[in-house]
Each structure stands twice: as C-alpha cells, then as structure tokens.
Amino acid sequence: MKHYFKQIIKTPMLILFIIMVCIFSFPALSQVAEINQYAIVTALGIDTIDEGVNKYEISFLTFIPIAQQGFAERYKVVTAKGRNVSEALDFAGIQLGRQVGLSHLKMVVLNQELLNNDITVFLDYLIRNEGLNSTVKLVATNKSAQDFLKSAQKLDSDSSIKVSELVSFNDDYIYATDSSLESFYKGTLGPTKVSMIAFLPTEEQSQSTAAGSKDGENGESQGSGSGGSSENVTEDIKNNGDTVVFKNGKAVLYLNGLDMKKINLACGGFNTGSLEIRNVTDNQFENANLTFEIFNQQHLLQVAYQNGIPVISINVKLTLRLSEVENEGKIFQENIEFFDLSEETEKNIKKKIKKVLSQGIEIMKENQVDIADFYTFLNNHDYIKFHKFLNSLQNPDDYINHLIFKTSVFVNFG
C-alpha cells in the first residue's frame, strides 16, 4: 500500500486526474437532470397578434418525458405571448418551469398571415441561435400556427410519423420542394432572392367513433353527436406539395403540386413522380389514359447569345416506366409486361412533356421569379456577356422575361 501511494505521488498526472474526478464528479451528482431543466422543443409556430404591447404569439410542441410501458410519445403544446420572439419564448419557459431548448427543433411553422411581410424578421431569432440545426424545416399553414401544432401533437403522439418528417423527402418528388430554413435563406440571400417553402394546410376530417371512447387523449378534437356513436371533427395536416414562393422574403406566389410539377420539370433536381398522358390511341390502346413513373431524369442547360440576348436550351432526358393504364374494355394482361408504344404515341408524349415544361417557364416569367436560378447559370457561363445583357435592360430585375427558352425532350421507356 505504501509503495502504491509512493507511486501515485511520483506520478503528478495521476494526482491531477484524481483532483479532476473529485472536482467534476461530485458537483455533477447534485445537478438537476437536464431533462427537468430544459423543455425539448420539436416544433415551433409563430403567429402575430395585436394585444397591447404584445405582437407575437409563439407556440411550441414540447416532448413530455414520462415513464410508460407503451411506445406512444406524449407532447404538449405551449403558447406564450411577447413583444418579440425571445420574450415570448422566455414567458413560455416560465410557464413550463424549464428553459426552452431548441437544439432538437425540427420544424418552424408560420401562419399564412405572416407571409405577406418579410418573414426574415420573424426568423431572425432562430438564425442567431447557434444550437439550431441547418436541417430545420420551415413550413407555412393556412390557419394559426398554434392550431397547426395542435394537429401535429396528435400526429406525433399517435403515430410513428412525425410532423417534421412530412416534408423531409419533399424534394424527391416532382410535385414539391425542399423546405428547410437553410434552403429558404440560400434562396433569399442568393442572386435571384427567390426561395420556396412547403405550404401545409390543415383540413377538417370527420371520424365516427363508438360512444364512450375517449375524446382524443390530447383534447384538441371537437366532438359532437348522440346515441351509440359520435362524429369527431379533427384537423389533419395535408402535404399536397403546395408551395409558397418568396421574393425578398415576401410571399409572391402560391403553387399547388401540379404547378410545382411544371416548374420542377424545368428545374430538375427531383428523383421521382409521375406523368399522365390522356387519350392515347394506337395499336395497343384505345382512348386510354397512361401514367408513367419517372424513373430517372437528366437536365442539361445550354446557352447561346443571339444579338446579345441569352437563348437557353433546356434539354430534359426522362426515363419513364408505364405504371398505370386506364383503358376500358381492354384486357390488361396484353400490355402489362411487354408494351410497345407507337411512334406517334411517343411523339405525343414528348409533345405533352414539352408543353408542361413551357407552362413551368411561363409561370416563372409571369411572376418574375427565377425559381430555376438561371441567373447563376448565365453568370457562371459568361459573366461579361450576361452582365452586358443585364445592363441593356430597363429593369434588370425582370431579366427572366427577356430570356429566350428552347426546350427539347428525350424520353426513354424503361
């Protein structure tokens, strides 16, 4: 033992290690558990109000850690008001008896009423928060953010689908867009000042439930009815690919999933989706509606200047797979495994896709929103020619209306 202590004294780092253990371990034992110190916020909603000095109403969805045998998670919606976002969050923290921790925040919801203003003002607190992850989703909703979170609370508690996951893979589809805080700011701070976020409306859904059953554990459903069964009206969050387009932080355009399909066909970047071709008649089909799944897509942009005006060629190469046929009176076995489209049908399909592509470009031109970021492409391609072209315009911000587009579509059937 004596030898052992002598050895320790000879090793100063060991003494230091023991001191460090004593200094850090014992105070750590007396500390409050972090789960009781911080409110774990998973979604945050911002609404504006006009109640005296208070301008903001902040609601958030917080996880309630509770011991239970099942797998269901419990969430609570907390709402507080304040003169700014920070103050409202402080009051929310006081309500809960915890500090508001945003490190696990996955979604920020904005009320539709806010979108006509510069929304960067409302998001300022969040981008200054170092703990916030870049992948936080930013969405808008048709009702108050508080109502949205109440619907989200039910979704998060009752199913394995979390509300933040609803838009996680949006940009894989031709009908939707990436909707993160990061992509919003990239667009707003970029040369086009255009950005997009997902629009998730809440819609009323009526459900019949047996009498006596609990009226929604979380208490946000509005029950009515009598007798043996009752009709519950619940609010459900719908992701139909609806998108809000912003310019300089303000909403300028609302697009539905089908409009997004037109624009995304011009922009590229998606992985999957479907295209429908109606009224196809050839040796195999008779007045049939064909739906093709997009298996692969490639976009190639080329530019040439004609009289100082950029002419952009958008070459879209799609690999399509027949996924659905609506052909009344025909036996489906005939064309389920082997199908051969006539040349004319192929031509019609290309024509249809070209038309959709042109419609997408028209939407961008009409609203002066360069969603595809042609600006960066033209600037990087030939800086001098492009800026000469911009300087020749009366309103350089409206450059998209002065661009000439040529489209070509190549289709492979896989």
Partner: protein
C-alpha cells in the same frame, strides 16, 4: 526542471506537421473567407499553402546542409545576438497569437455546440494540464502520441468530407469579387497559415534518414489537400449562408438531408475537433517554449512554461466569449505579426542561403 526533447523520426515529423496544418483553418476560417472573397476564396488557402510548401522546401535544403545543428546555432553562426533575439521574439509572438485565436474559437465552439453550461474555467481545467504535461514530456512523446491518433484523425476527417459532399445542393455564383477584395481577404487571413515554421524550431531534434523526406512531403501534401477540400466542400455546401455557420468541419456533418436517418453524426466531428485542439495547443506551446528558449537561452525551461501559462490565462480572459474581438484581432493585428516570420524572414534566409551557395560554387 528538465524537458527532454529526444529526436523524432520522419513519420513523427510528418504527422506533427500534418496535424498542425489544420490549426485555425477548419472552424471559423472558411466562413470568414467566403465573407470576404465569396466562392473564389478557396484560392486563398491554396496560395498560402504554396508559401508553406516553399517554407518546407527551404527547411529541407537547410536541414541537408546543417543536419545536426539547431536553427538557433545557425543564426548565432551567421548573425549578431540581437538578430537571434528579434527572430525568436517574432516566433514567440506569432505562435502565442495563434494559440489565443485557436483557444478562443474552440472555446466558443465547445460552449455553443457541446456543453452550454461550460465556463472558461472548466475548459481551461480540462486543457491546460494535459497540454503542459505533453509539452514537458518532450517532442518524442508528442510525436508518438500523434502517431497513435493519426489513423483516427485521417479516418474521421475523410468521413466528414464525404458526408459534406452529400450536402451539395446548390451551384455557387462565381466572379463576385474584384482583385482588391480578394487580396485584402488574402492578407487578413494570412495568420492561420505559416505553421511549417515549427520545423525550424525543432531542427536539431528532427532526424530524417535518406529517402525518408518523401514521407514528410507526402503528409504535408495530404494535409493541404484535406484542408483545402474541407474549405471547398463547406463553401459549396453553404454558399450564401456561410456567415451563419462559423464551425466548418462540424457544419459539414450537420447539413445532410438524411440526418435523421444517420442520427447525430455531427458528434464524430466534435470528437476530431477536440483531438485536434489538444494537439494544436501542445504543438504551439512547444513552439513557444522553443522560441522563449531562443530569446533567453540561459533560463530554465520552467520559465517558458510559466510565462506561457501566465500570459495565456491573462490574455484569454480578455478574449473568451467574444468572437468579435477574436476575429478583429485575427484579421487586423495578427496578419502584421505573421508577415515577418512567415514571409519576410524565410525570404531573407532563402536569399542568404542562395548567395552563400553561389559564393561557395564560385
């Protein structure tokens, strides 16, 4: 007190050089570079690494000419005493300035990203004893420890870069800066570079066998490649929002869409940043000790360690928790301190060396 700096091999030298080339470059630098010179800013580290390469080449030439002499002996042999003091004073200030900048940025990173409640005291308590111990143990112990961690460092750095490439989702806008903006940014961010000078301070301790120089040059090249890649991947991933992300290596790991599927992989980059910090601070402490010994060569080693710790504790308290002051000092004061040891001095040495060689030939 005796600090036994035993000789280190080519591999250990290369690994120490590899590690120190990451110092002050993988956290806040890429974001500041974008702020000043937009996407073209990735040329800045490439150019500055060319300067570092020139330094390494100069070291190779001098080492071959004076295989067993220290840099201090060489200066004493050709110059007056005051020149030696001036040169080593410049080295001491240069490395101390870099240490303060490094600690400050890492402290703010730790506080914001790892442990919100950590005070300066806790971080200092966790870092200072370890780096002091490692510095006292000597160069060979440092080299061997670095050798042990080397595969982990390379592995995690490569992993971070690969994950970062997964986050590419935008095309950057080129041609946004003019030459004056570019060169102003170049000058402002010269101070994180020039770490190759460390080799001169331990010149007599470095034993490189014939044919082993390729190891040192290869590891130098690998480190430059990885640092430049981290900066490029960061710039392309974040572009216009770079200013919102001050911790590059960490941010690379946190911006992937499949984040929720992969879990908190950014913890991996936290680990590597902490490992890097320990090594960087130790190497800077060793460099400071060697510089201090060059100024006061009759004083015991303990004085250099005490001076470093005292200055560190005093100055760090002015800087800590204030990233703005640290960035101001890093961009406006440190570049002037860096110019002499990094650019002017090697240039003078190269001219003297070249003239001496020509005179000998003639």
């Amino acid at each position: 007190m005796k600090v036994i700096d035993r000789s280190i091999t080519a591999w250990q030298t290369g690994i120490i050089l590899f590690i120190i080339l990451f110092a002050n470059k993988i956290l806040i630098l890429p974001s500041l570079l974008y702020d000043g010179a937009k996407i073209e800013s990735f040329f800045i580290p490439i150019i500055l690494f060319c300067f570092d390469f020139a330094l390494l080449f100069l070291f190779y030439k001098i080492k071959n000419k004076f295989p067993n002499q220290s840099f201090e002996d060489i200066i004493n042999q050709y110059c007056a005493r005051w020149v030696r003091i001036l040169v080593y004073l410049a080295f001491a200030i240069f490395f101390f300035g870099k240490t303060i900048l490094l600690y400050n940025v890492t402290y703010i990173f730790s506080k914001n990203m790892i442990y919100k409640d950590s005070g300066n005291f806790i971080i200092l308590f966790a870092i200072l004893p370890v780096i002091n111990h490692l510095a006292i143990c000597g160069l060979r112990v440092l080299g061997r420890t670095a050798q042990l961690f080397f595969p982990v460092i390379v592995g995690i750095t490569l992993f971070s870069i690969i994950v970062g490439i997964m986050g590419f989702n935008s095309v950057p806008l080129f041609f946004q800066v003019n030459a004056s903006q570019f060169f102003l940014t170049f000058f402002k961010h010269i101070s994180p570079f020039g770490d190759t000078i460390i080799l001169f301070l331990f010149m007599d301790k470095i034993k490189i066998d014939k044919g082993q120089w390729k190891v040192v040059f290869s590891l130098f090249g690998l480190a430059c490649f990885l640092v430049v890649t981290i900066i490029i991947v960061f710039l392309i991933s974040y572009t216009y929002t770079s200013f919102m992300h001050p911790f590059a290596l960490f941010e690379l790991m946190s911006y992937v869409k499949e984040y929720e599927g992969l879990g908190r992989i950014d913890l991996i980059s936290m680990v590597i940043i902490i490992i890097f910090t320990y090594f960087h601070l130790t190497i800077y402490l060793k460099a400071f000790m060697a510089s201090f010994h060059g100024i006061f060569n009759k004083l015991d080693w303990i004085y250099s360690i005490l001076t470093f710790n005292l200055l560190f504790l005093v100055i760090v308290n002015f800087f800590v928790m204030n990233l703005e002051i640290a960035i101001f000092v890093g961009e406006n004061i440190l570049p002037f301190i860096t110019i002499f040891p990094f650019i002017i001095l090697p240039f003078i040495i190269a001219i003297i060396f070249y003239k001496h060689k020509r005179r000998r030939i003639s």
